[in-house]
């Protein structure tokens, strides 16, 4: 049950075909204002799986709406919100949601693996940030040194 219950992050990285997404969109639009939760979710999930950033954002938006509208679906939704935000690169948001879910379901495999992924990304970016900062310092240092030398030479 639990293994089938939620998709892994990997699933979110495999985009759907444009035609498939179009089917979901058509279904979503055809139901109008009284759209059912499943239809809305299907479209939102399809959007999150997409590679386009705008689609992903829209997907997260719909998920937020589902979260607000259907309290009985909130527990699931938190995971998708975490996943969506992870894909968007909003790691702090992703972590906020995911930690909430882990709080409720410490044994949730999907949430745990997502946690790892988020940590990894944050670490990588953090490393790069340090690298950049140090690189920039180095360059400025070199330039300053060069300037300094030049100035000295002029003198």
């Amino acid at each position: 049950m639990s293994s089938e219950y939620l998709p892994y992050a990997v699933d979110a990285d495999s985009p759907m075909k444009e035609s498939e997404l179009a089917v979901l969109r058509r279904q979503f639009e055809s139901e109008g204002a009284y759209v059912g939760v499943q239809t809305k979710f299907n479209y939102a999930w399809g959007l999150i799986k997409s590679e386009k950033r705008l689609d992903q954002q829209l997907g997260v938006r719909y998920l937020t709406e589902i979260f607000k509208q259907y309290p009985e679906r909130r527990r699931e939704c938190v995971y998708y919100l975490a996943l969506g935000n992870y894909k968007l690169g909003n790691y702090s948001e992703a972590r906020r949601y995911n930690e909430l879910l882990l709080d409720k379901e410490p044994a949730n495999l999907q949430a745990r693996s997502l946690q790892q992924l988020i940590d990894d990304k944050v670490t990588k970016e953090g490393m790069l940030g340090v690298a950049i900062v140090s690189g920039v310092t180095l360059v400025t240092g070199v330039v300053a040194a060069a300037l300094w030398k030049g100035l000295q030479r002029k003198r």
């Binding site: 990285d13 979260f67 953090g126």
Partner: protein
């Protein structure tokens, strides 16, 4: 190619971002697919020393995130829209769902293999059945097993789909309940609006009348002193009230007959159209005796009832109050019709009286006062008294200035309402003799009809209706005769009913008749043939139809309704669901607004 586009994509996404995101796509750019990307993420994760991780996890935001969230307006807007405050976020109820959203998602994806499976299924079964191929057994086993797994999966998916459908239905039910609740709220609002509307209209009429009176007085020069007073004092025109307070002034019985504007509703009430069919709108105890006739002008308008207690009462259907009595007949009224302000009543005293309700001084204006109206005599409404018949009036109908009355003296009379004179007399017996080939059988026919009924109740002329020069009358011999008023001749007789005709109505296509023979017949006016027939358990005493329904009273405590549009028969009235109520005698309908009068003098108003 796929990787290239993905790289470009990723590149475009992170132009605004820091070098961190710029470099990452190149780092795993050589990997073939996104799927592998994620997989490597996981495997790398496992190899990574935890110290390195811990070093940076205290950062709440990565550099790229920081830059994005602070710089791009689109990102900021997105964040505002998707932000969930903590109190909402932590409010997660423990709800049991029969399926997860993801399972629902999977189940709603189309299955490309379904057809293949469908083909395989029967084949596999034949394989298992065909025991001839013993050699292929091991291969078939594995095949069957994979088939079984697939089928199990499919069964699971089917279960999920089933759950989805059922929960969707529950969802819709909830929405319907919500919508119904909303509808009720709006319906109540509509009801109060209509009430207010009618009150306002009455006020307008009152004010109009006052204006008219004042103008009349001024023209007559009856209040010159007041006029000069207002002129010299410069006081407001209402200053003439100092002479006499407004309320007293209003109550003054004016000796001269002032011409008040005839009251006519400006707005159309539509409330009853939104009620559930069969909803009771009102119930009035009008008389203490059996209702003999009733009619109303418009939905929520004016109702006139007559009963065996020899009184004729006028009612306001809006508030259910009695507006007064129409007094003048010496015996009980057997038939009546209301059209605008005009009422025609036919009585057992052999006279027909025409009333104009707008002539009543107290009509409408007195409404705001107490229930004292119960005994208000509206006899000053009388316009004409039509006296010529020599026996009781059993049926009448008027349209425009023409009134047709049918009497127990076996004649029909045509009246000119402008002059109040009889312009033509039609002898039904004579016409019957003219049309009949064998006179002897004709007389036996009359005899048979009275014999069959065995009751003196059957009126000789049960119903009439006229339109321009066309006249239809139903008589005790079960015949319906169509007359031409210009020639005074019967031009068609409709034979079919086996008992006295008690009610009839026609429009431009059909003629509908009800009879004591317990049937309702619908005739085609062009061909004169029967279009439809249906029957009840008891004699039909009254019937009327509107655009959609044929309603009839058939000796039960409910009104029988036949819905012409969907061919449905149903009951409406106090007797529905084992309810109690007296037998319905008379029934009228207009635009789905049904009024029925019962044997105990109660009048019920229903929406249908």
């Amino acid at each position: 190619m796929g990787t290239n586009s993905r790289d470009l994509q990723a590149f475009r996404q992170t132009v605004t971002a820091t070098a961190g995101s710029l470099i990452s796509p190149f780092a795993d750019g050589n990997l073939p697919s996104s799927y592998h990307n994620a997989m490597t993420d996981i495997t790398r994760e496992l190899r990574k020393p935890t110290l390195q991780q811990k070093l940076f996890t205290f950062n709440s935001k990565t550099p790229s995130e920081l830059v994005r969230s602070k710089l791009s307006t689109q990102e900021i807007r997105y964040r505002a829209v998707t932000f969930l405050p903590d109190e909402v976020l932590h409010d997660i109820p423990d709800a049991e769902n029969t399926y997860s959203l993801f399972q629902g998602f999977q189940a709603s994806l189309p299955e490309p293999e379904t057809k293949k499976k469908g083909k395989k299924g029967p084949k596999a079964i034949t394989d298992s059945n065909g025991s001839s191929s013993e050699v292929d057994e091991p291969e078939t086993m594995t095949g069957l097993e994979s088939d079984r797994a697939k089928l199990t999966h499919r069964l699971e998916m089917l279960g999920i789909r089933k759950n989805m459908a059922s929960s969707e239905i529950r969802d819709i039910d909830m929405k319907i309940a919500n919508l119904n609740a909303m509808r009720n709220i709006v319906l109540n609002r509509l009801a109060s609006l209509e009430e207010e509307e009618s009150q306002t209209e009455h006020e307008i009429v009152e004010v109009d009348n006052k204006i008219e009176d004042l103008r009349y007085d001024m023209a007559e020069g009856l209040v010159p002193g007041n006029m000069t007073d207002t002129g010299s004092d410069g006081s407001t025109p209402s200053g003439d009230n100092t002479f006499m307070s407004d309320s007293i002034y209003k109550k003054l019985p004016s000796p001269k007959s002032r011409k008040h504007r005839p009251y006519k509703r400006i707005s159309m009430p539509i409330l009853h159209e939104h009620f559930e069919p069969g909803t009771n709108i009102k119930e009035l105890q009008t008389h203490n005796d059996s209702i003999t006739a009733l009619d109303f002008d418009v939905p929520f308008g004016t109702l006139v009832t007559a009963a065996f207690d020899d009184t004729v009462r006028v009612w306001d259907l809006n508030n259910g109050r009695c507006l007064g009595l129409l007094e003048g007949h010496n015996a009980s009224v057997r038939c009546l019709q209301v059209e605008d302000n005009f009422v025609a009543t036919g009585s057992m005293d052999a006279t027909v009286r025409i009333w104009d309700l707008s002539r009543a001084e107290h009509y409408r204006a007195g409404e705001s006062e107490e229930n004292a109206n119960d005994h208000v005599n509206l006899s000053d409404c009388g316009v004409h008294t039509l006296e010529a018949h020599v026996a009781e009036i059993t049926a009448l109908h008027f349209q425009g200035d023409t009134l047709i009355s049918g009497s127990a003296d076996k004649t029909l009379r045509q009246w000119d309402l402008q002059a109040g004179r009889c312009v033509q007399t039609l002898d039904v017996l004579w016409a019957a003799a003219q049309n009949s080939m064998v006179p002897s059988s004709d007389t036996s026919r009359w005899g048979a009809s009275t014999g069959r009924g065995g009751d003196s109740k059957a009126d000789f002329i049960g119903a009439v209706q006229c339109f321009d020069a066309a006249l239809a009358c139903g008589t005790a011999d079960g015949m319906v005769r169509l007359w031409d008023l210009r020639s005074g001749q019967v031009h068609r007789s409709l034979v079919g009913h086996t008992g006295p005709v008690t009610c009839l109505q026609f429009d431009d296509v059909h003629l509908v008749t009800g009879s004591l023979d317990r049937s309702i017949r619908i005739w085609d006016l062009r061909t004169g043939s029967i279009f439809d027939v249906y029957g009840y358990e008891n004699p039909v005493t009254a019937m009327q139809f509107d655009a959609r329904r044929i309603v009839s009273a058939a000796g039960q405590n409910v009104v029988k309704i036949y819905d012409k549009t969907d061919g449905r028969h149903w009951d409406c009235g106090a007797g529905v669901n084992e309810g109690k109520g007296a037998v319905v005698e008379k029934v009228r309908i207009q635009d789905g607004y049904l009024v029925e009068g019962r044997k105990d003098g109660v009048v019920g108003v229903w929406a249908c």
